[in-house]
């Protein structure tokens, strides 16, 4: 499989109390077409900083190279409340990705939005509502739908389920799994929940304090971890699952 993203020696530097601080340091990896690559790591290890740097949202303090082989990669954010414009209706929000490209007329846009709603299991009556009138799960479905409107080939999902409660989490994960199968889109899936990563991903990277400490096939990393940090993570996870 060809690569859809190549990241080389990527670092993200912030100034913390006037001292330089690397949220991401010297990270290199590839994402292949159509795969789900997991990025696991505890809170604050630099996962969001890495994804922001990859998509060019963060530019200051970023060094290294990022090569995209697919145009217009999209992102689903951690907090579904902040990723929808509070003063626009869902219908407007979902049309926006294909409206800014400007090559569809109104009827075609509406048709595509309705198609997408079916894909993410949302009712059409939602189109006339505002984001604050939706549940967390519905909002995240809307975010996923919006991210897919331009038919991207690569998507970053930054902890798309951590803000949701457990039953809704599994619904959204099922949805992502299904969409991945239907659309063949490559996903960089970020999570601090090892169980979720295990459920969804083909390969996995483990991040600690801004560095990728381990990367490989899911089974290898989970059952034959090399790095002591990964080992401790897996042991902790296993005792949790057994309970």
């Amino acid at each position: 499989m060809a690569n859809i993203l190549e990241v080389r020696n990527l670092s993200v530097e912030f100034k913390k109390d006037k001292k330089p601080f690397f949220a991401v340091s010297d990270v290199s990896f590839d994402v292949k077409e159509g795969e789900i690559l997991g990025l696991a790591g505890e809170s604050g290890c630099g996962k969001s900083s890495l994804s922001r740097a990859i998509l060019g949202i963060q530019k200051k303090g970023v060094t290294g190279s990022v090569k995209h082989f697919a145009k217009r990669p999209q992102m689903v954010f951690q907090d579904p409340a902040g990723s929808l414009n509070p003063s626009q209706k869902i219908g407007f929000i979902l049309e926006e990705p294909i409206r800014v490209k400007g090559n569809f007329d109104k009827a075609e846009r509406k048709r595509r939005v309705k198609d997408m709603l079916k894909k993410v299991d949302l009712d059409e009556e939602i189109l006339d509502r505002y984001p604050n009138e939706l549940s967390g799960g519905q909002r995240q479905r809307v975010c996923i739908a919006a991210a897919l409107m331009q038919e991207p080939k690569f998507l970053i999902a930054d902890e798309p389920v951590s803000a949701l409660d457990v039953t809704v989490q599994s619904q959204i994960l099922e949805l992502l799994k299904r969409l991945h199968k239907e659309l063949g889109i490559a996903i960089l899936f970020i999570s601090h929940d090892l169980r979720v990563v295990y459920n969804l991903c083909d390969r996995v990277m483990v991040m600690k304090s801004g560095k990728i400490v381990e990367m490989g096939e899911l089974q290898d990393v989970y059952f034959n971890p090399q790095h002591p940090y990964t080992k401790s993570l897996m042991d902790a996870a296993k005792t949790k699952y057994l309970k």
Partner: protein, 267 residues
């Protein structure tokens, strides 16, 4: 529960007071009992009566009629000042907040300079150049009001432009103009509403103050501040000359502040 109750009381009270002012303003436009500028020396400093419910001033002019027109004048100046302040403030605040960098540096330094400049001095300068009158006052106060609006808008734009939904729209490939106009400006309305109400209040006070100093409406045309200033000479013998225009200013300010208080953070 209790908080919403006081908020409702404030809202109703504010609405009532503002309502009174609006009725006076409309009366000032449509009909006044007497010609506010007509002098009647036989009625000079006449007291409160059914004929002149607020009495007459030093030139025998009906104070009630003058107050009605004065309200209109003050409201007009305040509205124009706030309009200039918000309009220019939105442009400067949005550009600096959104683009940042050296544009931000330069405009904000300029902003600070204007802010540090006493507005009375600024008004004197503009009025000196333009030769006084209402138009000069509006422009002078308008300029003085821009920085505070620009600062508020800039802060809000700075906050919004880093929100995730703006990043989403950016990833769709939307232009800066579209992001600003469609996705940022509509979300400024809550902040704008409260700052416009507060700004309106300050403008009312500033207009009254400037006219009091003789830098606004020119006699014999009435304005609330000017009437206060004219009442100064007879304050001991005929206090109502000052009391009524003063009272109306108080009602105006109180009404708007109660309204803006009750509307704040309601959303």
């Amino acid at each position: 529960m209790d908080k919403t109750k006081t908020r409702n009381v404030k809202f109703i009270l504010g609405l009532t007071l503002t309502g009174i002012i609006l009725v006076m303003m409309i009366a000032g436009i449509v009909h006044t009992p007497y010609d506010p500028m007509a002098m009647d020396l036989s009625a000079k400093l006449e007291g409160v009566s059914f004929k002149h419910i607020m009495g007459c001033d030093n030139f025998g002019r009906d104070i009630f009629s003058r107050v009605l027109v004065g309200v209109r004048e003050t409201m007009f100046v305040a509205a124009a000042v706030v309009f200039i302040g918000t309009f220019v403030g939105i442009i400067i605040g949005t550009v600096t907040g959104y683009f940042g960098g050296w544009v931000d540096e330069i405009l904000m330094r300029f902003n600070d300079a204007v802010l540090a400049f006493p507005s009375v001095l600024l008004a004197l300068l503009v009025i000196g150049i333009m030769g006084g009158g209402t138009k000069a006052l509006i422009i002078a106060l308008g300029i003085a009001f821009v920085p505070s609006f620009a600062r508020i808008i800039r802060g809000e734009v700075l906050r919004i432009r880093n929100l995730d939904y703006i990043q989403c729209v950016r990833l769709y490939g939307a232009s800066h103009l579209r992001i600003i106009v469609v996705h940022i400006l509509p979300n400024l309305r809550t902040v704008l509403l409260s700052s416009v109400l507060i700004g309106f209040n300050n403008a009312v006070l500033a207009e009254a103050g400037m006219s009091y100093l003789g830098m606004g409406a020119q006699p014999p045309y009435p304005s609330l501040g000017l009437m206060l200033s004219e009442a100064q000479g007879v304050i001991y013998s005929n206090p109502w000359n000052a009391v009524f225009p003063g009272l109306v200013i108080v009602i105006m300010i109180l009404g708007f502040s109660l309204l803006s208080d009750s509307l704040e953070k309601k959303t």
